[in-house]
């Protein structure tokens, strides 16, 4: 049961930033409307972020990773259930790696 100072500081920094997004966003956006470009950019941030996150491992990855990605997207489209889609993706990579020997 250890709590290291550097880890605590990183967690606190994340907490402050996250609370600023939740509460500060309400306090600020209620008073001022951001310029349209900033507004639109905020809406595009999550999708672009996740694309930037998944691209390097998929491009560097072998074909089992691509099979897994297809499985995730297919199952998510079919079930709209995050948990089921994650499990399907991991299972597909597992199976493909086993096949690849």
């Amino acid at each position: 049961m250890e709590l290291r100072l550097d880890v605590l500081l990183a967690i606190l920094a994340m907490t402050v930033v996250t609370y600023a997004c939740r509460a500060g966003g309400y306090a600020v956006l209620r008073a001022v409307r951001p310029p349209p470009f900033v507004d639109a950019m905020l809406r595009h941030l999550p999708g672009a972020l996740f694309a930037a996150y998944v691209a390097p491992p998929l491009v560097a990855g072998s074909w089992p990773a691509w099979i897994g990605a297809l499985a995730v997207v297919g199952v998510q489209l079919g079930t709209r259930n995050l948990g089921v889609a994650i499990c399907a993706g991991v299972a597909a990579v597992w199976g493909a790696q086993a096949l690849a020997g």
């Binding site: 049961m1 709590l3 290291r4 550097d6 880890v7 990183a10 967690i11 920094a13 994340m14 996250t18 609370y19 997004c21 939740r22 509460a23 966003g25 309400y26 306090a27 600020v28 956006l29 209620r30 470009f37 507004d39 950019m41 905020l42 809406r43 595009h44 941030l45 999550p46 999708g47 672009a48 972020l49 996740f50 694309a51 930037a52 996150y53 998944v54 691209a55 390097p56 491992p57 998929l58 089992p64 990773a65 897994g68 990605a69 995730v72 997207v73 199952v75 998510q76 709209r80 259930n81 995050l82 948990g83 089921v84 889609a85 994650i86 499990c87 399907a88 993706g89 991991v90 990579v93």
Partner: protein, 266 residues
């Protein structure tokens, strides 16, 4: 269901214990769906060397699954304070418009009821509160209840994940680590608004991240560079389309800010 009086004289927003409990109860069907994502975050936290206490503390006070997962992917020893904060900012900035969209309730709250409710706000509680508001609900306690219910589930799932991860050593390269890519991919499916809007920005974000990665730029730079370029392109396309196409009816462009795809996230 008793129909509300058509001329309800009192449309005041209330905040009751009953509303909080009802919100918390409405989260129960979501608990099972959160389990794999929570497990993944717990397992990765363990793999990155976080102790049980550190993992549970992070889940308890950051309480933002995608941001936690991303920060953990960037984790180093000693802990990367700046990179973790940056990851939280980029992932969670999407929550900034949510509170404003719920102003109909939040503007009537004061003190801990307002600032405490905001602390628990996540994608699901936002989406469920919007649905509740549109159905005529006026008990703002509902938003807090959903947030608290999901918070308990999140703590439990990540705690179980950490315990499982430390009980069974997962070797590097194990298919289980694909779970974090899988989590982000399935979130992306929920965010997808069609090729016109999202294809270009996402491809640019991905390609730039790959290029920066190959160029050997340090950890958060490829991610941030790709993200900002993709989002800027998305904003540019959107504003260009708006300028070309005159609004069909006055005022339709001034709708309330929307959260990302309500309904699909943990």
């Amino acid at each position: 269901m008793e129909g509300p009086a058509p001329h309800a004289p009192d449309r005041r927003v209330i905040f009751t214990r009953a509303g909080i409990l009802r919100g918390a109860r409405d989260t129960l069907p979501l608990w099972l769906g959160m389990l794999p994502f929570g497990l993944v975050v717990g397992i990765i936290a363990d793999a990155k060397g976080l102790t049980f206490l550190e993992t549970v503390l992070m889940s308890a006070i950051v309480y933002a699954g995608a941001a936690q997962l991303l920060a953990l992917e960037l984790w180093t020893d000693p802990a990367p304070i700046g990179a973790a904060a940056l990851a939280a900012l980029v992932v969670n900035i999407r929550m900034a418009p949510m509170g404003a969209a719920l102003a109909g309730w939040l503007d009537r709250l004061r003190g801990w009821r307002l600032w405490g409710t905001l602390a628990t706000m996540v994608d699901h509680s936002f989406a469920m509160a919007v649905r509740e508001q549109r159905a005529g609900g006026r008990d703002a306690g509902y938003l807090l209840g959903v947030g608290l219910g999901l918070w308990v589930a999140w703590l439990l799932c990540t705690a179980i994940g950490h315990l499982a991860g430390s009980a069974v050593r997962v070797p590097p390269g194990h298919p289980l680590y694909f779970a974090s890519v899988a989590a982000f991919l399935s979130i992306m499916v929920g965010l997808w608004r069609g090729p016109r809007v999202d294809l270009g920005p996402w491809v640019v974000a991905g390609l730039l991240a790959v290029a920066a990665h190959r160029a050997g730029l340090p950890a958060p730079v490829p991610l941030l560079g790709g993200t900002l370029a993709g989002a800027a392109l998305g904003a540019w396309i959107e504003l260009r389309d708006q300028a070309r196409r005159p609004p069909p009816a006055a005022g339709s462009a001034a709708s309330a800010p929307q959260g990302p795809a309500p309904g699909d996230r943990g």
